[in-house]
């Protein structure tokens, strides 16, 4: 089987109640949607990684926590914002730099959206503009 260079990614922003505020999946261009519906597994893994994020938070000075967890073929990296919002990334091929840059850029983007007085913190981010921009960042940092 031909091994594609870039893997798949699942990115989620978590609110303060462990609720997903924003979810997006990045699949490499050639790869079609996986046939089996394993999307819920992404959610399970990302959610389970939160315990290790909490643990790693005390061990690191950085807000980018690198790899915090691993499940089967999935690596989990995390990024914890100042307001203790957690960005979680699941991926199957290591790509530390891209993920770090992605996190940083999404954080910038998120701050711009969060200052919107009509956005209630922790509520799901339903802005299509935000979604579009995150997808753009994903293409730029992760899939390139």
């Amino acid at each position: 089987m031909l091994k594609t260079k870039s893997g798949s990614f699942y990115f989620v922003i978590l609110g303060h109640h462990d609720n997903p505020a924003f979810e997006v999946e990045f699949l490499p261009a050639g790869k079609a949607e996986p046939k089996d519906d394993y999307h819920h597994l992404n959610q399970f893994i990302a959610h389970a990684a939160l315990d290790l994020v909490d643990e790693n938070l005390w061990l690191s000075n950085n807000i980018y926590l690198k790899i915090v967890d691993k499940f089967n073929e999935w690596f989990v990296s995390a990024f914890v914002t100042v307001s203790h919002l957690r960005f979680i990334m699941l991926y199957d091929i290591r790509q530390e730099d891209g993920i770090k840059n992605f996190f940083t850029d999404v954080y910038d983007l998120y701050i711009k959206f969060a200052v919107n007085p009509f956005y209630e913190p922790n509520s799901p981010l339903q802005s299509s503009a935000f979604d579009r921009k995150v997808r753009f960042l994903g293409k730029k940092h992760l899939l390139s």
């Binding site: 462990d18 609720n19 997903p20 519906d37 819920h40 399970f44 893994i45 959610h47 389970a48």
Partner: protein
């Protein structure tokens, strides 16, 4: 890991106990069988020693053994089969479920509060069974037999013979190469001879004697006489004896009991065993020849390892029989064990074990340890040095333990059974079994080194494992627990030896040890690492334990716990452990619930639903599936379709369980309860031929707060009129359509036999279409008898009695994916009472076939045909409407309370009349001012007579039913096809210019003073409309004066002849939409005529100028307008004649043309005016054609009065303010009055319109109301420019009430002056230098009061320019007059003007001052002559 009953210090010694084999004769077996027990089973409850035991170690140190337990088991010659163990474990786990009502611990971690059961007994059972069913292995000796009990009965013919036979048998099994199993610890196994004696049957003397014989043969320490069965079975019932076997046997080995029952299936299974076994072993002849009890082979009864019994054979037969055994077991599981044993027998057995251990087993072990020790010591120096020397030669260094991974394919190395390397391991195991952990550790440690040196990985792993365990168990813990030993052992077992069973044992032990040291995260990692694909059950259990580790950490890892619970649940379900799977998912659900992890939640709910369904927990299944469907879903359409079908399927099963039960509540589709609308009444028939029904109220109308307010006002007006000006306090506006905006605080009233329509707003949240079938309303009804009293017994009826309430059923109602749709459901009440609409009932289903289509779901084409229902369930949904939030009192403001909403609880009242109104020939387009005749049909469609019909509208000037004179016009619409709307009289053309007069009173037209002009009674022929009757009435319409689209609301009001307490009246609404286009603009002014006397010699006359402009812009339609008649209507004035005698008698006005008319107006006869009431209007018509339209009759006068009354409404308030008693104001009003006229001009016209090459003649009329002399009045309302915003003032305005003086203009009209003189005067100046001209000055008092007048003739030139233009002259004679004029008096003054030159002079120099004579305050002002009075003086 979860909490366990046993501590680890108890668990490990109990897992490794000295094993003792039992070999029984048939007779002995029969004796124990009386108790439904085998010999091994019989001993089982007593196999733990109650007292401490002492023994001496090789160094002669005293060693204390506590709680020693031995395991006695029958000999089995086949190693346990893997699959059978698996099945046993499966049964053990599934048989052990959490107790009902077990109080769960509440763990709070962060935001989470979780209910978790701290114990997992199924895991403990699994572990116990697993450890017990470990097959004996060559690399360790822990579960090898140390001793063998040979059991014979005292009842045998030759007991001693039997013993020797048994002894031979044992020897054969151990030393014959045919048997590789079971394993024996050392070659010379301890043999212990037991004589069983049945107290109830056997001869005790004989037993004693045989025992004596045995003692002599085998020594006192090597034999025992065990007396049992001292109780006769018939006594069994009256004495209750504890059953110590139940806890050991019932759990997992019950199935073996049944093989002794004489059921047919057991027989067959036994036969199977036999035949199979024989063929396998090839020992059939042996078995038959020697006649020995071959219980060691064929006996299916194994206590310790019950699985082996069913394990002797592989294959489908065996599995089948085992399962059938399992079935029969369930049928009779009430077996009492030990029925023939008394408590003394129990003590005897206990004593026997004690004796055996003390006298037999322990000395044997002690001796063996000593021997092994001696061997080792003697061999140590030699072998160790030799081995290590060779090793060193080859490798040069010691092999480190860590590098085991690199060593492959070395696990195959096997030592022969008696290899010296194994001797140390044997000794270590023996020490371990007798709890001498110090010695065991050092031996294991040594052995480990040896094995590693030899690269014997399996042996090394075993030694590492046991070294770690004994290090942990060492009293006083001299060294820390070497966890890395365990890790290495696990890794070796798993990766090198591929022996998952051993790896698992290792993990179970290590995890338990780590747990006891609170090293949860290490334990979890260990447990998770062993999960693999080969065993779902093991993986599930280990994952669950790992999850428990996470939650038991110092800072609990809740999310990890949840995740691993999910994984465990998944594995449980794969292993077929449905209940455990369900439990795991439910526990994990607590963490994921309500966080927005929708996919995860859906997965969990789906699994819970499935598992609950298979476990027949249907309610749970339903609620789980319900969750998936009603939450915001991210699933695809296909997925949702699958969920929906599953849900329906489950639901169907639920409802089949209780077919007579109440309908279940369905979750789909959503109902927006507050959007529910209720409509009372029949559906509207929009049009019936030419007839156009009244719009009334219908569900198709959108709610409009403005219009509903208008309707409410209209209804209030009419109710006020009916109740003589007062709105009764009980009045509430009639509501035919109830929605979320209407006032729903009272019970609505519905009339019997009139349908009630409920509109329910459905929404389908799914991506698949939903099909509702047999959709109808669910209701409850409390009937009342005719008197309105409740029935004596209050019967409550529910849906399904069509004689009381008819229910409409919608057979199919499709809601597409993510669609909102309303359904209108009807009820037909046939009886009075109280109705409560509860909800809707329907079959919920989906469309087959469309589910496979992705995304779009049902195609439009599918909608037309019959839907094939794949599956549907019947259920209901309640309509519960929350009332409005209350916000009146303080209490309500501070709390959140809601008022009631009684939309769905109508009271069915008695019959009421029901009116239907149709309009015939009702136009939609009119010219402004156009008069059109239409007909209205009133029909009473009920069974009650109707009366008091009235109509109310905000625009009464729009229509009329005609006054009392209306009878002359044709009554039916057909007769009036081409007839004029007006009442006309043909006149001869000679009497053109003069006006024809008539008079009428406004009272005749229903316009009284004070009554509301908007409320118009409908002139029904008999004021009553009988049931089924209908009447057509003419109705004239007049296009509103403003162009544009007009919505005109009519509200018809009617009552029942019979007074109803609940409904006083009913109403019917109609909204007419009229589009008007511009026609004529009429402008009129009135001014005083300069001529003092008319032909008839009367004093007062005026001129009216009427400008008429054709403003119609439409090119095609209207060709031209003809003014056919101008009429006046006034109480005091009338038109006399037309002044401008133009040739164009028709007064045509083409497009954009303008015409001017001038009329002379005179006062009516005062006598007439005095005799008749003040409300009498005089109409005067000036005709331009040859037909007179009688303006005092309908409809002309009607509209005139209507326009008048609407005009009067406006200034009324102002007038009332002016009539305050104030002398100055009196004067002002008096002066003002003389400017007032009350002249109204009606212009009647015809318009010639070409429409579809057909000429039509339209008629119309315009009204101009003249109030003030000299002021222009218009037929059309003037656009008032918005006054500009006044600048905001920051100071108090000064008092502006000072001057209420009449204006100059008003005063100037007080006295009318005119000069009469010859226009030219010839005078011979050469004869006489002074020219005297007589001039008459006429003074006319316009007011009705006395006026003082001063006339000043003194010449005062106003300006030098005037002098230049007009020559100067002088007045001769009296130059100043003081006069008093009475009301309306005319006075003439003779003056003389004196000229000295020829020329043109302006005589208008006299200044006239006027004041009201009775006034103290004098307003004096000069009378301005507007016109110059020029005279020409010629010289002759």
């Amino acid at each position: 890991m979860a909490q366990c009953v046993q501590s680890v210090q108890e668990l490990i010694p109990d897992s490794f106990v000295p094993c003792v084999a039992a070999l029984c004769s048939d007779e002995a077996e029969r004796l124990t069988r009386l108790n439904h027990l085998s010999f091994a089973e019989l001993l089982k409850p007593f196999s733990r020693l109650t007292s401490e035991v002492h023994m001496r170690d090789p160094n002669n140190q005293l060693h204390i053994i506590k709680n020693l337990k031995i395991a006695v088991s029958n000999i089995i010659t086949q190693p346990p089969q893997h699959g059978a163990i698996r099945k046993l474990l499966n049964d053990v786990v599934s048989g052990c479920q959490p107790a009902e009502g077990l109080v769960a611990n509440v763990i709070t971690a962060g935001d989470y509060d979780l209910n978790i059961s701290a114990t997992t007994p199924w895991f403990e059972s699994y572990r116990e069974t697993f450890l017990q069913s470990m097959p004996a292995s060559d690399h360790e000796f822990l579960n090898h037999y140390l001793a063998c009990m040979l059991v014979a009965s005292s009842g045998e013919a030759e007991p001693m013979e039997q013993f020797s036979k048994l002894s031979q048998e044992q020897h054969r099994i151990q030393h014959n190469n045919d048997y590789s199993y079971p394993k024996w610890f050392i070659p010379n196994t301890l043999k212990y001879y037991v004589l069983l004696h049945d107290m109830s049957a056997g001869d005790e003397q004989r037993a004693e004697s045989i025992y004596e014989e045995m003692k002599q043969k085998y020594g006192t320490q090597g034999c025992y006489l065990l007396k049992i069965n001292s109780r006769t079975s018939n006594r069994a019932s009256d004495e209750q004896i504890p059953d110590p076997w139940s806890q050991y046997l019932q759990k997992n080995s019950v199935q073996n009991q049944e093989s002794y029952e004489d059921g047919p299936c057991t027989i067959t299974s036994n036969k199977n065993y036999d035949s199979n076994l024989l063929s396998l072993d090839g020992l059939d002849n042996e078995v038959k020849v020697d006649g020995l009890p071959n219980n060691f082979r064929t006996h299916p009864l194994q206590l310790d390892q019950p699985i082996e019994s069913s394990n002797n054979v592989d294959g489908p037969d065996h599995v089948k029989s085992a399962s059938s055994l399992h079935e029969t077991k369930k049928a009779n599981s009430g077996i009492i064990h030990g029925a023939c044993l008394t408590l003394t027998d129990h003590d005897r057995i206990r004593q026997f074990i004690q004796e055996f251990t003390f006298r037999g087993l322990l000395p044997h072990i002690e001796k063996t340890i000593r021997q092994l020790n001696d061997q080792l010591i003697s061999r140590k120096g030699l072998s160790r040095s030799l081995f290590s020397a060779t090793k060193k030669w080859f490798s040069g260094s010691k092999v480190p333990e860590k590098s085991i991974n690199e060593l492959k394919n070395t696990s195959g190395l096997l030592y022969p059974p008696e290899a010296p390397e194994l001797q140390i391991r044997k000794m270590a195991d023996l020490c371990f079994l007798v709890q001498h952990y110090d010695l065991a550790y050092s031996c294991y440690h040594t052995a480990k080194k040896d094995f590693l040196n030899d690269q014997a990985m399996l042996y090394a792993a075993g030694a590492l494992e046991m070294a770690a365990v004994s290090a942990f168990l060492q009293p006083g813990a001299p060294r820390p627990y070497p966890a890395h030993y365990m890790d290495t052992a696990i890794q070796t077992y798993r990766d090198v030896c591929k022996n998952m069973v051993l790896a698992e044992r290792c993990v179970l032990l290590s995890a338990e040890i780590l747990k006891s040291q609170s090293k949860y995260s290490e334990a979890a990692a260990l447990l998770i690492r062993l999960t693999s694909e080969d065993s779902d059950l093991r993986s599930a259990l280990l994952l669950e334990q790992a999850a428990h580790c996470f939650i038991n950490m110092k800072s609990p890892m809740v999310r990890k716990y949840a995740f691993h619970m999910i994984l465990a649940g998944h594995r449980f379900s794969k292993a077929g452990q449905k209940k455990h799977a369900l439990r795991c998912y439910c526990q994990a659900m607590q963490v994921y619930k309500g966080k927005g992890w929708s996919l995860a939640e859906d997965h969990i709910n789906f699994t819970i639903g499935r598992q609950s369904y298979t476990l027949r927990q249907l309610d749970n299944a339903v609620s789980a599936f319900r969750h998936i469907l009603i939450n915001e879903s991210k699933q695809s359409a296909a997925q949702q379709g699958a969920f929906l079908r599953e849900y329906l399927y489950v639901y169907k099963n639920v409802s089949q369980l209780s077919p007579d039960g109440p309908f279940p509540q369905l979750p789909l589709p959503y109902i927006n309860s507050s959007a529910t609308r209720v409509f009372f009444g029949h559906d509207r028939r929009p049009a019936d031929g030419e007839k156009q029904a009244a719009t009334h109220v219908s569900l198709d109308q959108e709610y409009d707060s403005e219009s509903s307010q208008q309707w409410r006002e209209l209804e209030e007006q009419v109710v006020a009129v009916v109740n003589k000006g007062v709105i009764p306090s009980s009045f509430h506006p009639t509501q035919y359509c109830l929605n979320s905006y209407s006032d729903n605080s009272r019970f609505p009233l519905a009339v019997v036999e009139e349908p009630i329509t409920v509109e329910v707003a459905f929404r389908n949240p799914l991506k698949v279409p939903l099909l509702l079938t047999d959709l109808s309303l669910l209701w409850k009804f409390q009937p009342k008898d005719i008197n309105g009293k409740d029935n004596e017994e209050v019967r409550e009826l529910v849906t399904g009695e069509p004689e009381m309430i008819g229910t409409e059923v919608i057979s199919e109602f499709l809601i597409n994916n993510e669609e909102s749709k309303v359904a209108r459901l009807k009820l037909f009440p046939h009886h009075i009472g109280e109705l409560h609409i509860l909800g809707v009932v329907y079959n919920l289903g989906t469309i087959q076939g469309s589910l496979t289509m992705d995304g779009i779901g049902a195609l439009p084409g599918c909608h037309t045909g019959k839907y094939s229902l794949s599956m549907s369930v019947r259920g209901r949904q309640d309509l519960e409407i929350q009332g409005p939030r209350l916000n009146n009192t303080k209490e309500e403001k501070t709390s959140i309370t809601y008022g009631p909403d009684r939309r769905l609880d109508p009271i069915i009242t008695e019959e009421m009349p029901l009116l239907e109104v149709f309009f015939i020939h009702f136009p939609t387009e009119l010219l402004c001012g156009e008069i059109r005749k239409a007909y209205v049909e009133f029909a009473n469609v009920s069974k009650c007579p109707l009366t008091g019909l009235k109509v109310v509208s905000k625009r009464p000037e729009f229509f009329t039913f005609g006054g009392n004179t209306a009878v002359l016009t044709p009554l039916s619409p057909s007769a009036s096809e081409n007839c004029s709307a007006y009442k006309t009289v043909v006149t001869d053309s000679t009497s053109v210019c003069t006006a024809l007069t008539s008079s009428a009173s406004s009272v005749d037209f229903g316009i009284g003073i004070g009554s509301q002009p908007e409320v118009i009674p409908v002139p029904l022929p008999d004021t009553v409309l009988l049931p089924g009757a209908s009447v057509q009435l003419p109705m004239w319409l007049r296009g509103p004066d403003e162009e544009g689209v007009h919505e005109i609301n009519f509200l018809f009001y009617y009552e029942s002849v019979k007074k109803q307490p609940k409904i006083r009246h009913r109403i019917l609404r109609h909204t007419a939409v009229i589009c008007t286009s511009r026609s004529l603009n009429v402008k009129a002014t009135v001014c005083r005529s300069n001529s003092l006397e008319d032909e008839e010699g009367k004093g007062d006359n005026m001129l009216v100028f009427v400008d008429v402009e054709n403003t119609n812009t439409s090119e095609a339609g209207v060709k031209e307008f003809h003014i056919v008649q101008v009429s006046s209507s006034s109480k005091h004035w009338k038109l006399q004649k037309s002044v401008n005698l133009s040739e164009n008698k028709d007064a045509k006005l083409a497009s954009r043309e303008k015409g001017k008319f001038c009329f002379k107006v005179i006062r009516c006869n005062e006598r007439e005016g005095a005799t008749q009431s003040s409300e009498k209007y005089t109409f005067a018509d000036i005709i331009f054609g040859n037909e007179q339209i009688i303006s005092s009759a309908s409809p002309c006068a009607d509209f005139f009065y209507r326009s008048l009354s609407s005009e009067l409404k406006k200034p009324q308030t102002q007038l009332s303010m002016h009539t305050e008693k104030h002398s100055v104001e009196d004067a002002v009003s008096l002066i003002q009055k003389c400017n007032k006229v009350d002249l109204n001009i009606v212009i009647l016209w015809k318009a010639y319109v070409v429409e579809d090459s057909k000429q039509l003649i339209l008629e119309g009329q315009h009204h101009v109301i003249l109030h003030t002399i000299g002021k222009e009045a218009f037929s059309y309302p003037q656009k008032q420019e918005q006054p500009e915003m006044e600048p905001l003032k920051f100071f108090r305005p000064e008092n502006t009430t000072a001057t209420s003086r009449p204006s100059l203009e008003q005063l100037s009209n007080l006295i009318k002056t005119s000069l009469h003189y010859p226009e030219t005067f010839n005078h011979p100046f050469h004869q006489k230098s002074l020219c005297l001209v007589p001039v008459t000055l006429l003074l006319s008092n316009c007011s009705k009061a006395d006026v003082d007048v001063i006339v000043d003739l003194r010449h005062k030139t106003t300006s030098p320019e005037a002098l230049e233009i007009h020559g100067s002259f002088t007045w001769l004679g009296q130059t100043q007059y003081k006069l008093q004029l009475k009301g309306q008096e005319i006075l003439s003054l003779q003056l003389k003007a004196c000229f000295v030159h020829t020329g043109v002079y302006n005589l208008g120099t006299p200044r006239v001052f006027a004041k009201l004579s009775d006034q103290v305050t004098v307003f004096e002002t000069s009378q301005q002559n507007s016109m110059p009075a020029l005279i020409i003086i010629n010289n002759v």
